[in-house]
Structures are given as C-alpha cells and as structure tokens.
C-alpha cells in the first residue's frame, strides 16, 4: 500500500513541479496578437474588393489566420493561392468559384460625358482612385485603380465600364515553353500513358 501511495505521491509531485514550470513559461512566453496576419496580408492583392466576403484584404488575412480557406480571393487568383499555400504550408486548392472567377486585370473607366457628378463612385472607391467633385465630371486614375468593381454598382447612370488592361509591349511576358508533355516523346512509358488518358 505504501508503495502505491509513494508512486502516486511522486508522480503528483512531478506533475506539480512541471505544471509550475509550464505555468511560468505560459506567462513568460505569452504571445500577443498574431504576426502571421501581416505576412498573409502582404500576399493578398490589396484590391480591397470584398469578393472574399470580408471588408478588405486585411480582414480576410485575419480570417485566413483563423483558419478560413485560402481560395476566396479571385483578384489574386491561383498565384496568390499558391503563395498563401507556401506560406501556411497547406495544400494549394483551386479558386473557390462562389467568390468569383479570376479575371484578366481590369480598370474602371468612366464615360465622362455621361457622368452626372454624383460622387457616389468616389465614396465607393476603396483606394481613392476616382477624382471629381459634386456636379463635376469624375475620372479614374488608371494607375491607382485596382479593378475591384466596387464603383460600378453605385453609379446611378451606369457610366462606369470595367475595361480590360491589354498587354502592351512593355507589360508583355514570355510564355512558358510547352514542355516535354506536349511533344509526346516521353521516354517513360507510364508518363506517356497518363498523357493519353488525359
């Protein structure tokens, strides 16, 4: 009987000591906030478009830090998802279609002769990319426009178009070579079969 009690006593004693150590460590190494949010935020495209269902990119970053899926950002597209997946060491998943599709980069353009100068789009723009004043024609600063679409809805005369930013010689980028798969010259038989089934 004594042995049993002794054993239990020793274990309890050990537990108490370790508990005290952990308690101290908990206070000493207490973590304030979540610095990961900043890193996630840095990867998001900052269009502040709200397509993810959050009012801006930072709230979505916070949501991601709290475990929301990383595929709710259509403006960022697959590239952003990949970057987030790398950062958070999770599986890169395809974009969630519920939140929109990945479109080519667009900017808002105001058909200026139709603009009535209501300033509604100015208020809607999350990045202050629309210039204008009440009763004055408005115009979009194309370089500042993130193409978030938020100004289109409020316009009472529908004079805002989302225009795709075409590729110019300056913004053009080289294509990725087609790679081996396209040539059907794979040496390894299994790979060739996989291709055929595709």
């Amino acid at each position: 009987m004594f042995t049993v009690l002794l054993a239990i006593g020793i274990l309890v004693l050990l537990s108490l000591i370790f508990g005290a150590i952990l308690g101290y460590a908990n206070v000493r190494f207490h973590v304030e906030g979540d610095p990961i949010v900043d890193q996630i935020d840095a990867l998001l495209p900052q269009t502040q478009c709200g397509q993810c269902g959050h009012p801006g990119c930072r709230p979505y970053a916070e949501a991601i830090a709290n475990g929301e899926a990383i595929n709710h950002c259509p403006p960022g597209g697959q590239v952003t998802i990949q970057a987030l997946a790398d950062l958070l060491d999770v599986e890169a998943v395809p974009l969630d279609g519920d939140h929109g599709t990945e479109n080519a980069k667009r900017v808002a353009v105001i058909r200026e002769d139709e603009c009535i100068g209501c300033t509604k789009c100015i208020q809607a723009c999350p990045v202050d990319a629309i210039l204008g004043a009440a009763k004055q024609m408005h115009t979009v600063i194309a370089d500042e426009c993130t193409g978030c679409d938020l100004c289109v809805e409020p316009c009472p005369v529908d004079c805002i178009d989302m225009v795709e930013v075409g590729v110019t010689a300056k913004t053009w980028s080289w294509d990725k070579p087609q790679g081996i798969a396209a040539t059907s010259l794979n040496i390894i038989a299994t790979d060739r079969q996989a291709e055929v089934t595709h």
């Binding site: 020793i10 004693l13 150590i21 190494f29 990961i36 790979d191």
Partner: protein, 193 residues
C-alpha cells in the same frame, strides 16, 4: 574524452536514430518537404531531445531510483517529454510564429516522437551517467537533424525534378529514405574497437 566522442559519432552516424534504429520516422517523412521547415524542426527536436534526456536522467536518478520506483520510468519520462515539448512549443510560438505555424501539428507531435522516449529509455538501459546522457541525447538529436536536413534538401530537388508520375511524392521520398538508410548502414564499420 574519447568515450564522449565515440558517443557522438555513434549516435550521429553509426547508430543514427532515424536511419539505423528507425525511430522518429514520423517527422522524418512528415516535415521534410521544405528545407526551411525541416531546419526549424531539427532545431526544435534538438532542443527537446537534449533537454528531455537531461530531465529524464535527473528524474530517474534522483526521484525514481531512491524510492525504488524504476517501474514508473516510462510514465514519468512521458511526463517529462510532454512538459519539455510544451515548453518548446511556447518558446517557438513566441520566437518564430511562422515556424510555429509551419511546424503545425508536428511540434506537439515531438511528444510522441519515439526517438525522444527512445533516447530517455536507452539512457537508462545503457546506464549512462549524467554527461553521457546529455551527450547521448544531443548526439541523437544532431543525427536526427542531420538526416532530416539532408533528406529535405534532397526532397526539395526531387520535387521539381521530372520523376515518373507513379513515383511522384511520397513514393520517391520513401525510396530516397531507403537509399539513405542503406548509405548510413555503411557507417557501421566506422569505429573499430
């Protein structure tokens, strides 16, 4: 002195915990996807292993043995390891939140890393002294880190290489690990006594 050196060589190369004794394979396969992560994991494990072998030695020698409670060694070692891991987790969370996040479940899983308990128990069975215990734990940790980092560096390259489809991912990882283990077997004859 030679004895200490031998302990280190033995644990790091000849009796490498992962590739020769096959202990701690879970993090070895799980956290070796990225070099950065595996370095973090290696450091955390080194810390835990060294500290826990020290703590478990002290617990055994000064608490269990005097009371004749050697049969409690497993349960008390688990307790010690759990505490050390928890402590490490807190430290990592504080110092490197990204590493904390990246290590994710594997950090608490060090608790169940059989290498950690293995070291503690082998220390007892080998009747290692104080310094020997620490060195044994440290050597085991260095050996673990060594192969983990090597393996992850290899996996990183293999990941971008055009491996035949059927071998992609874990399959080629396993093969690589097996080849590495074969290579480490070669260290058996390293020390001639």
């Amino acid at each position: 002195m030679t004895e200490y050196l031998l302990i280190l060589v033995s644990t790091i190369l000849v009796n490498n915990f992962v590739l020769v004794q096959f202990l701690g394979l879970c993090p070895f396969m799980g956290v070796s996807g990225k070099l950065e992560t595996s370095i973090g994991m290696a450091m955390a494990t080194t810390f835990v292993l060294t500290l826990s072998s020290l703590c478990s030695y002290l617990t055994y020698t000064y608490i269990l043995q005097p009371f004749g409670l050697e049969y409690l060694q497993t349960i008390s070692f688990i307790l010690v390891i759990a505490v050390v891991v928890q402590f490490t987790e807190m430290v990592v969370h504080k110092t490197s939140p990204l590493l904390y996040r990246v290590l994710g479940i594997f950090l608490p899983l060090i608790t169940t890393n059989c290498a950690v308990l293995g070291v503690a128990l082998q220390n007892i069975s080998k009747q290692n002294g104080f310094v020997e215990s620490i060195l044994y734990g440290f050597g085991a940790a260095v050996g673990f880190s060594f192969v983990l980092i090597l393996f992850s560096a290899m996996r990183e390259r293999i990941n971008v290489a055009d491996v035949p489809t059927v071998f992609k991912g874990s399959a080629i990882g396993m093969i690589t690990a097996g080849l590495m283990a074969l290579a480490f077997m070669g260290f058996t004859a390293l020390v001639q006594i």
